[in-house]
């Protein structure tokens, strides 16, 4: 296809039969109708991110303990708002945008069922607004997990059901568009890796949303007093939704890593077979891991817990380990091919660190891998879970995965979506350049603070430690951790504000992108037939010694974290 070979076959698309334009930067055929739906979903994502962001500042300034920004009742309300808007609305609206991008523009094709896509958007928006209104009205102080028998207004569950139906329709539009693109032969052979990864995410999303139906429909009828619901059955059903939703994020994030690695350095997948196999491992095994939320629950046997939480013997984790090598290695090979060959890490020093999409990708990979990934696997270990369950270690883990990982990666790719899809020049490029660093530093401190406090046993989801303080329960460093949580969270919020400001300003006031203006050069750029095309560099060498050293450092760190946790577990009271 054109990007791989640098050969343009534009004329064939002229008679495409749908309103389209040729992207001046990538040479891709852009379906104008798809572009509008994508833009709407991105805008909605960012609006809900602002709502989640405002509540996140309130939450973190309350947890910083010395500040106590909010009274307990308001804290739990803000925490519910924060969880729903960040984990569901921001991320899923953005993912729907990514899905539409991957099934139309990436395949040089059109979005099928544009009206359905708008219908899905309407349902998701209505659901998100209904649930948000219910929470703000004080009728849904049940936190993100809404564990039965803690009861919210039926409207809380109804909003979530509407949102889920909308998201399910969006997945349908995605699959239909891919089938049509295949039938219309808009691409040849296999789908691009990015689309492959998005298909993985979408299949996981369908499974997740079916779990959502089994969770929220009974909860809705239960809240109306029409049926009984076993609390443990609810927990099991809930986590067939709650964690797989994060696995959609994982698959989408890894896909975005591949995409931004390509766009910023011209990297090509090291081995298509291996990368696709890794996505397949996600598909088969990753949702089993959801049971790690239930490791210290009654009602489930040991064998069930061990098999499931090991993601079937950690085969899904192997998928992540593969990506952990294949993406940095692809970047290394691409940069070496561009002449940055000095030493083991010369390529890394010469990498485009000023390009926010690149820096966001690398920072996202590092924080996700070293912090989010290792802690996820280890806290989900059957026995080790006992010394972490529901302490602040848990939010430390998932802020490293979905915030420092997914959100940062999505922020990075936005700097490409702006010119490529929204057709706006990125305003304030210097601000955009520092944004990923500010956000990553903030996240790192925030997560470190939670991890420190959590390692002393400080509980999560708790408005105030006054009762614990009366017993002088936690050592002083736990409070330094809580203070760091507040400092880091505030810095991250500044990074978030910069992101939103740059995006909103660019959308509202940015110039339409002309052919020549590229705020962040898509490297390396060739011009073919008067059209600028980024193409992968044909690498002669197929060796990435630097990336190999990096992943072994990562493995050593992983093993160290595991041993420390085993040691910690062995130091508590015998229990069985």
């Amino acid at each position: 296809m054109l990007l791989a070979t640098g050969v343009m076959t534009l004329p064939s698309r002229a008679a495409a039969g749908f309103a389209s334009r040729i992207c001046q930067a990538t040479g891709l055929v852009v379906d104008v109708a798809a572009e509008k739906v994508i833009a709407a979903n991105v805008v909605a994502a960012i609006v809900f991110m602002v709502l989640g962001g405002v509540s996140s500042v309130l939450v973190e300034l309350t947890r910083a303990e010395w500040l106590q920004a909010m009274a307990p009742g308001l804290y739990y309300r803000a925490l519910t708002l924060h969880g729903m808007n960040m984990l569901i609305y921001w991320i899923i609206f953005f993912e729907v945008a990514c899905l539409y991008f991957g099934c139309s523009i990436v395949l040089n094709s059109r979005l099928v069922g544009v009206r359905l896509a708008w219908g899905a958007f309407g349902l998701m928006l209505a659901g998100a607004l209904l649930t948000n209104a219910t929470i703000l009205a004080g009728q849904g102080d049940v936190l993100f997990t809404s564990y039965v028998p803690l009861k919210a207004s039926p409207l809380f569950y109804l909003g979530t059901i509407l949102f889920a139906i909308g998201a399910l329709i969006a997945c349908g539009v995605f699959f239909a568009s891919i089938l049509v693109a295949r039938a219309e032969r808009t691409y040849e052979g296999s789908v691009p890796l990015v689309t492959f990864g998005l298909i993985t995410a979408a299949i996981i999303a369908v499974v997740t949303l079916i779990g959502g139906v089994f969770t929220y429909v009974p909860a809705f009828f239960w809240s109306l007093g029409l049926m009984n619901l076993d609390p443990e059955v609810y927990r099991l059903n809930y986590w067939s939704l709650g964690h797989p939703a994060q696995q959609i994020n994982l698959a989408a994030m890894v896909t975005v890593w591949y995409m931004t690695a390509s766009l910023t350095t011209g990297a090509r997948p090291l081995n298509e077979k291996l990368s696709r196999f890794a996505f397949l491992l996600y598909l088969f095994f990753i949702n089993l891991g959801s049971v790690h939320h239930l490791l210290v629950d009654p009602g489930l046997t040991r064998v069930f817990k061990v098999f499931n939480t090991s993601y079937a013997m950690y085969l899904a984790v192997l998928g992540s380990m593969i990506h952990a090598f294949s993406i940095p290695a692809a970047i290394e090979i691409a940069l070496r091919a561009q002449g940055h060959r000095k030493g083991l890490f010369g390529w890394l020093r010469k990498a485009p660190w000023g390009n926010p999409a690149f820096s966001a990708t690398i920072l996202s990979m590092a924080l996700f891998g070293f912090v989010g990934g290792t802690t996820g696997v280890i806290f989900g270990h059957e026995q080790i879970n006992m010394v972490h369950h529901n302490t602040l270690d848990i939010p430390a883990h998932f802020h490293a995965t979905v915030v420092a990982g997914t959100t940062l990666a999505f922020m990075g790719v936005t700097y490409y979506l702006l010119p490529l899809v929204l057709r706006r020049e990125v305003l304030w490029p210097r601000l955009a350049r520092v944004q990923p660093y500010v956000y990553a530093v903030g996240c790192t401190l925030h997560i470190a603070g939670m991890m420190i406090a959590g390692s002393y046993g400080v509980p999560r989801r708790t408005a105030s430690l006054a009762a614990e303080n009366a017993q002088h329960l936690f050592a002083q460093p736990a409070y330094w951790g809580l203070a760091l949580l507040g400092v880091g969270g505030t810095i991250a919020a500044v990074g978030g504000v910069i992101y939103v400001a740059v995006v909103v300003a660019s959308v509202l006031f940015g110039r339409q992108v002309p052919a020549s203006a590229e705020p962040f050069r898509l490297a390396p750029v060739h011009t073919v037939g008067g059209v600028t095309v980024t193409s992968g560099v044909a690498a002669k060498e197929h060796s990435a010694p630097g990336a190999l050293v990096l992943v072994f450092v990562f493995l050593a760190f992983f093993i160290l974290v595991w041993f420390l946790n085993m040691w910690r577990l062995a130091s508590v009271w015998p229990v069985s």
């Binding site: 009742g73 997990t145 997948p269 026995q383 529901n390 509980p459 508590v572």
Partner: protein, 180 residues
């Protein structure tokens, strides 16, 4: 380029570095996996695996009988209970614990735990051991406190407006306590 269709034949053998990394990773992950089923042979900290169905009303009765039998005092309206090694009943409810347990170091107790209303967390601090209480289920923690001192029982599962107030006590005394 990840955004473009791969070349016609992309089913290619892995390079040397990829084989090395996949092999080493898989080996480590298998060891990690085996550490879960094998841990009981090495150490004594294992996730509880004994549970029964129990209604909140039944469990309330069990707790009331247990507290009446072994009560030695009260603190802030909460009974202080000093049971012998064996079955112990502990309930969580919005937003308190059913008793202050006084246990003996080195003795093994079968602590039946349940919730009388919504989900609660049972977090023993600062030793940092955490369990889930779900209404309708009795989960038995076969626990041997090996260190003495005053510990706190913290609810670490959100359980409503007073969640942060749900902090109780657990005391572990040495072998020769209380004096006969």
């Amino acid at each position: 380029m990840a955004l473009s269709a791969p070349e016609r034949i992309w089913w290619k053998p892995l390079g040397r570095q990829e084989r090395l990394w996949v092999g080493v990773s898989l080996g480590f992950l298998m060891i990690l996996f085996l550490s879960m089923p094998l841990w009981p042979l090495i150490e004594k900290q294992n996730t509880p695996n004994e549970f029964y169905r129990v209604s909140p009303a039944q469990f309330t009765q069990l707790v009331t009988d247990f507290n009446a039998k072994y009560k030695v005092g009260a603190e802030g309206g909460v009974p202080i209970v000093r049971p012998p090694p064996g079955d112990v009943y502990l309930a969580g409810q919005q937003w308190r614990w059913s008793s202050i347990l006084e246990l003996q170091q080195g003795k093994t107790y079968r602590i039946h735990t349940s919730s009388l209303d919504v989900n609660h967390g049972l977090s023993i601090q600062p030793i940092d051991m955490n369990f889930q209480l779900v209404p309708g289920y009795d989960q038995v923690l076969t626990l041997t406190p090996t260190t003495t001192g005053d510990f706190a029982l913290i609810c670490n599962e959100f359980c409503g407006a007073g969640h942060h107030l749900m902090v109780g006590h657990l005391r572990v005394r040495g072998c020769c306590w209380p004096p006969a």
